[in-house]
Point group: C2
Chain length 400, copies 2
């Protein structure tokens, strides 16, 4: 449904633009805000004053003069509120507390106990509630308190309805996790796919308009930032590149298809390569430290492990080239569990991409994500959905 703009809407948009300018450019003065937004000084001042009254912004003190009166520098009032990010994985759950600036204050990782049966939802929601409550208790008292909780799930999630379609390894289907958690906690809850969270975090951190975040772990998923926004697709399940074919007549996949990327480029695939390579002592799978142990053995020079990682890297490269050629993202961030094996994988990945990417796609930047990227992206669901709105989309309006 289309909407028109009235005065109060205009003011809200402008206030958001001012807040965003401070968020991205602090410390900054009222005068700089006005000039960088092409806005009158009086308007900027008035909006800043409102933001200060609401505790979202604070004055830092006088800055350096540039030939005249000293500017009063502004900054986020970063301790006026907090957000919580949660990263749910198969074997463990990570929770982190952030202030408004996105600075991490606490990070905690617990084992996750979920039997993949009818009790899975109940066990999951109980552990989520518990970890959220514990994290909330860590936040100092503040004007806005806990603004919300963002949760990243490893599977298909509809972020607008807060519904989980399907979490493959936990065997959770069709569950409104949003409803259940709001009922228990009475605070705003945001949910999304883990790869999407990773993509959001990278967008924010690097200020990119197009990127792909590869979440490679037990399975493989992709988060896509297109035109500066997360692309979620028609039903919120875009990015299932793990189930795109890289070998039309290849291995049967659990999804019913053949030759899916994640059959060749995942922890599961690593396990298979190890088995096929006749490796003797393979760590138990899936367990919280399966990959860790494999990396240790490769570090120690075990050729079976080194070869298995290289094969994984090569196949990551095949699928990654597909993502790159299909989406021309400019920037690719590799995250997920397998990113911790980057030193055994990335040479092969880059080698494959260098000859399979077409044209300018060969200039694509490929980098490794920080391990806490997903959890911080989950937290940023809160802040970006409540505080930031993109006004840029209106910049290039032409006349009617």
């Amino acid at each position: 449904m289309a909407t028109s703009i009235d005065g109060s809407m205009m003011r809200r948009l402008n206030k958001t633009a001012v807040f965003r300018t401070i968020y991205e450019g602090s410390p900054i003065s009222r005068a700089e805000i006005a000039s960088s937004l092409g806005m009158n000084k009086a308007t900027a001042s008035s909006l800043v004053d409102e933001l200060i009254a609401e505790h979202f912004v604070m004055e830092l003190g006088y800055g350096e003069s540039r030939g005249g009166r000293k500017p009063m520098m502004l900054d986020l009032n970063k301790t006026s509120g907090y957000s919580i990010g949660i990263d749910v994985q198969i074997t463990h759950i990570t929770a982190a507390l952030y202030d408004l600036s996105g600075t991490i204050l606490h990070l905690h990782r617990d084992a996750l106990y979920v039997r993949p049966d009818a009790s899975a939802k109940e066990m999951l929601v109980q552990q989520l509630e518990s970890v959220i409550r514990r994290t909330m208790a860590l936040a100092p008292p503040s004007a806005h308190g806990i603004i919300g909780v963002g949760i990243a799930f490893p599977g298909m999630v509809n972020s607008s309805t807060g519904q989980i379609h399907y979490l493959p390894n936990l065997e959770v289907h069709d569950w409104s996790v949003h409803r259940d958690l709001v009922a228990r906690l009475q605070i705003p809850i945001f949910v999304d796919n883990d790869a999407n969270c990773g993509a959001l975090a990278e967008r924010q951190q690097r200020g990119l308009k197009q990127l792909a975040f590869i979440n490679a772990g037990i399975g493989i998923g992709v988060g896509i930032i297109a035109n500066g926004e997360l692309y979620r697709g028609q039903d919120g399940i875009s990015g299932e590149f793990g189930h795109t074919t890289i070998a039309a007549m290849g291995l049967r996949c659990s999804c019913g298809s053949y030759g899916c990327w994640e059959q060749y480029a995942s922890e599961r695939a690593l396990l298979r390569y190890l088995e096929e390579g006749g490796t003797c002592h393979i760590p138990p799978f899936p367990s919280a430290n399966f990959l860790e142990e494999c990396v240790l053995r490769a570090d120690a020079g075990d050729p079976h492990y080194i070869r298995a990682f290289q094969t994984v890297g090569q196949h990551i490269g095949y699928g990654l080239s597909n993502v790159i050629n299909g989406l021309n993202p400019g920037y690719v961030i590799v995250g997920g569990n397998l990113a911790s094996a980057a030193r055994h994988i990335m040479n092969e990945v880059e080698n494959v991409v260098s000859y399979r990417a077409v044209s300018v796609n060969r200039n694509v930047q490929i980098v490794i994500a920080d391990p806490s990227t997903v959890v911080s992206g989950a937290a940023s669901l809160v802040i970006s959905s409540m505080l930031l709105v993109d006004v840029d989309s209106l910049a290039d309006i032409r006349s009617v």
Copy 2:
């Protein structure tokens, strides 16, 4: 660069919203516009009056009463200006004249003569100028005249700079076709990739927010509409799914990679399947009617041709499933030359997608494009870039 909104900007946005409401919902009255935009009647009236004064909108006469005074129905003043669309293909060039409503008034198809050598650009620009001038001459006199020309090219194009990166079969590299044509014609020129144009046309026609347009011809490209907007990627070359791998160790491709989709699902691939199948009388390739003749033979029941088309269809299905799983488009439109062989291909395509798409992606709609989709999308580049702006993106703003 961010921007603030002042009063005149607000009015421009609202005027655009009104225009858009008329564009999409005509015939419509002032009162309906106001209520559907949540806008005051007086404001809607005033904006409509401006649009009428500028000849963009006209009054049609009184509509049916709904229990009170009869409404004055409004419509686009569709003959107040015209746009031209051009579809450049390897063997021919299609030009069409449209009014503002997107109704086609003339369609003309010429053979294209371009030697793939140093003279290519010059030959191309000459023929483009000539066909545009001829089409311009067909437009009736009007208030705004020819508003602009949109051109779809079969290759990598940067639409924002008007630069052609590369047209594979015409061997044109790095050419600012925009600059050259503007210099010759002195009217606004818009260029884009053919698959993108197809995607734009389908978005407009079907009112979709997510879709993928498959342009399958000598090569294969994909146009992506994400969140209601064309996704062009970092460098404007997104959608090169033709060069995504569907067989990691497959056939060598001209791009340097192996197993690219378009090696298996294109007119070229059809030719190869025919040769491999030992077919005797194969029509010359590439020629303007290679495919036409193949379709005729398949229609006539020649099993070689039928089998070759089925194989093409199967492989279109593989890559299409990748597009669907990766992008969750909800809607897929198959266009390009090969769409004219739909009756020999689509059974296989749908069969493959039905088991290779995951989850709700199995509900994806797959339809065949009209042959003039690309050329009308090219024309719509003009209208959408000059007349339509998306205000919807502001709808879901939350408080700061």
